[in-house]
Symmetry: C2
Subunit: 548 residues, 2 copies
Amino acid sequence: MKNKKILRIIPIGGLGEVGKNMTLYEYGKDILIVDAGIMFPENDMIGIDYIIPDFYNYLADKKDRVRGIVFTHGHEDHIGAIQHVLEEINAPIYDTLLTRGLVEVKLNRHGLAGKADLRTVKAGERVQIGAFSVDFFHVCHSIPDGVGLGIETPAGLVVHTADYKFDHTPVDNWPTDYAKLAEFAQRGVLALLSDSTNATEPGWTKSERIIDQGLDQVFKKAKGRILVATFASLISRMQQVANAAERHGRKIAFTGRSMVDNMNMARELGYVDFPERLVISLEKSLSMPDNQVVLMCTGSQGEPRSIMGRLASGTNRKFDVREGDTIVLSSHPIPGNEEPVFRTINQLFRRGADVIYESIAPVHVSGHASQEEMKLLLHLVRPKHLIPIHGELRMLKQHAKLAEEVGVPAENIAVIENGQVIEFEDGKLHLKERVPGDYIFVDGTGVGNVDRSIVREREALGRDGVVVVNLKVNRQTGNLSGRPEITTRGFMLPEDLDAMLEKLTRQIQSTVSRSNGDLEYEVLRSLKSYLYQETKRNPFIFVTVSQN
Amino acid sequence: MKNKKILRIIPIGGLGEVGKNMTLYEYGKDILIVDAGIMFPENDMIGIDYIIPDFYNYLADKKDRVRGIVFTHGHEDHIGAIQHVLEEINAPIYDTLLTRGLVEVKLNRHGLAGKADLRTVKAGERVQIGAFSVDFFHVCHSIPDGVGLGIETPAGLVVHTADYKFDHTPVDNWPTDYAKLAEFAQRGVLALLSDSTNATEPGWTKSERIIDQGLDQVFKKAKGRILVATFASLISRMQQVANAAERHGRKIAFTGRSMVDNMNMARELGYVDFPERLVISLEKSLSMPDNQVVLMCTGSQGEPRSIMGRLASGTNRKFDVREGDTIVLSSHPIPGNEEPVFRTINQLFRRGADVIYESIAPVHVSGHASQEEMKLLLHLVRPKHLIPIHGELRMLKQHAKLAEEVGVPAENIAVIENGQVIEFEDGKLHLKERVPGDYIFVDGTGVGNVDRSIVREREALGRDGVVVVNLKVNRQTGNLSGRPEITTRGFMLPEDLDAMLEKLTRQIQSTVSRSNGDLEYEVLRSLKSYLYQETKRNPFIFVTVSQN
């Protein structure tokens, strides 16, 4: 066994999006972690703050084998769980300059600044991390300084693209590194793990550059202020909006802590470049003529506590929406988040703004490759095997179909799910055991102390509410002393409940009279069936009995 | 005042989609109700079954003035609230044959068959309903036998399209009635109320006919069974799938109560036409070779209790998904419902099926007009005023922009919200008072006994759960007798709670010792801050104290 050259790959986390938040590479006694991100909960994961990959299980007895953590780019779904990983694992972190900047902002917030061993890598460099010789190569995505990885091991070369697109005219003029992909092909690629997010999108994803035109259309027409909302991490969008402001004779102000932090960091590191005179303070902007101002802020997802969310609900402190404002949401709703985004748009319209969003004008493009780009990648890399990652099962299946179309044999494509261990030995792919590799809920300070069963309890509580009944029973007579105290939450309107109260009391009294055992349980059962019969609802009922 | 010719229009209900579920027309002492539908709750309306228009308020003292109820077509969002309306209002119902059929199915389920005064109208007919002379004219939509209305009153002619599209090649070969629209224009149209659903979609909505090609693509490739899921009311889709089955030498079976009911009704009324030999029973289909079978069922929205939902979760009784099945979801996710739909698709893939849906192949088209059709309608009808209906505010605003582009003066376009009373007098539009015209929650048997405040309580309950604490206090010593009983739901895992229990008990004991007033309140406050500090969660806490 000892001399066998076996490479193991395990995708973890990402809410069913395979390997979205983390992928483990294991060779001999060395483990490499690629990415450590978070996901936001689905609509039915009530009360959950965010979700992290369940690396705890698999790495429990292998923590000291982790030789390094590599981040492909600075988005939350790739770096957001770093503080949880560092609590368990002591290993150097490798990433590019901008990604490092974003990781540092995050570590500072968690009081971990200075504790992590951060090592900056440039795209084009090769780094030895344990048994893995890793080539970092540049990819375009909706954030600058993204990289893919060529991971060389004695068992073969694996190319891991994470999120990418082939933008010929990216805002930073730095296209995806075609030459490196071709070089990998010449070396011979054992397997490609690559982004499947847009596998159901035909054609070629539009270039970031077309947003310039979209912004020009909007800026030309706008008579009042222009407010642009996007993700705080969308660094290149800041550049595009600033350029548009400059072209149209406006000044730009940034507002919102994360946007300002990221903008300053990106400016210091040289990832954005604006003239000094272009950027003004929020305060300054509020006293200037409306048609000379652009405000850039967060809240493109309709988050209620973001600036745009507060503007929509009329609860922003420093300024309000004005009649005549033009508001641009330069983003795409996160899947499942359409309702709050559209609600925000409607509220902004109601406050007198004209709102421009993706369906109205080209003010956003996807950061992920579409079908023709996926085919191009396969032709450039010519992998022996394909493991589609970053996507729900339906997208991975579609990615597999595309790969078959361009000639990858079906038996060399592994559509897998999180926790599925893949082994490569002698150039062959083997599906091995499936390990726990799903996700863990984070709620408040609790990591993993809320699970599916608790979320189901929450659903049930939310569906029909709670009824608490406090009875006093006379020790002598065995009868109720006075009326039961009934408290409800989320059950029905108090006035409607009052109308039922007399019948309810009689029902309880009759149960108490007939009781010959566990009084609390009997009252609970009888109330449950009574309330269901009257309301067709199933609230959680608690009964407490005290004797006097 | 008495001789003034005033027409009042009031859109009601529809979850912010203006007039989606109901529109009232009022002239003198006569009221006409157009449509009475329901909406399904948004993701944050926890535990709500469905939503009905709040007609109760405005009609409270005007019930006897309602001269008729007109249904434009048989979709739930237009007919689903009929049983609630008939509880309050006694008026004849006017609709076309198929719509009547669907209304009757619904009335039967609510035990109201025979109680309603149903009057069948054919497209092309004119009916006098109180002061309203109503021309019914045919429109294409994603259900056959839809109509728009030309409502003539002494104050002028209003054209109300409800849902429509201009399909040149509809499945039933019955295009929208261009001639009637042109005739209205010649008579002079005071106002147009029309569908804004697709106001942000450029171009022209595709014809239902292209689905034939989509189905042919799928049927040609499929080697095993074919399962097609769609809405039970999508009658024309049943015809298209049956035709495809016939073309590809397969038999078709329908399954699911509402689908079978509607299919039989539509077949009897002549809205679908299949040869006898084509349709087989579900039982028969299960014993035939896979490649000779098509099954048609409900569940295209991922509803857990539908056939497709049960197939996805592996809980269907009569049959299961088989490796090699091809499953077609011939539908578009209802907005906000994307997560369950895509979850269902992923589960079906996991069970070995190949799943075809809108993003993969043209197996569904919208039933609503897109921008170029909206412009065509405006040119055909040449209304003096436009009142965009059927859409969120953002869509109405976009509809208004389109109308301005084709020459409707901005001051003649009224973008309004539900409950806004519009009056027309002497050909002029006046915005009058705003009346309660929103929506009412239906939950179990309760209509309106759950409101926004109760839903907010449910949200809070769902977010962090419930903690019930039952204390026994010794009357003599004033101290706790024994441990407090603590019951939780949706708060945290029992084992994690156990770890906190000792500290919790000490906390309560200390509060009890220091108490000099309202013990329940003091324990509640101290627990609340303790639990928040430990967990950063805010469960609902109930404290009951009994003395012994």
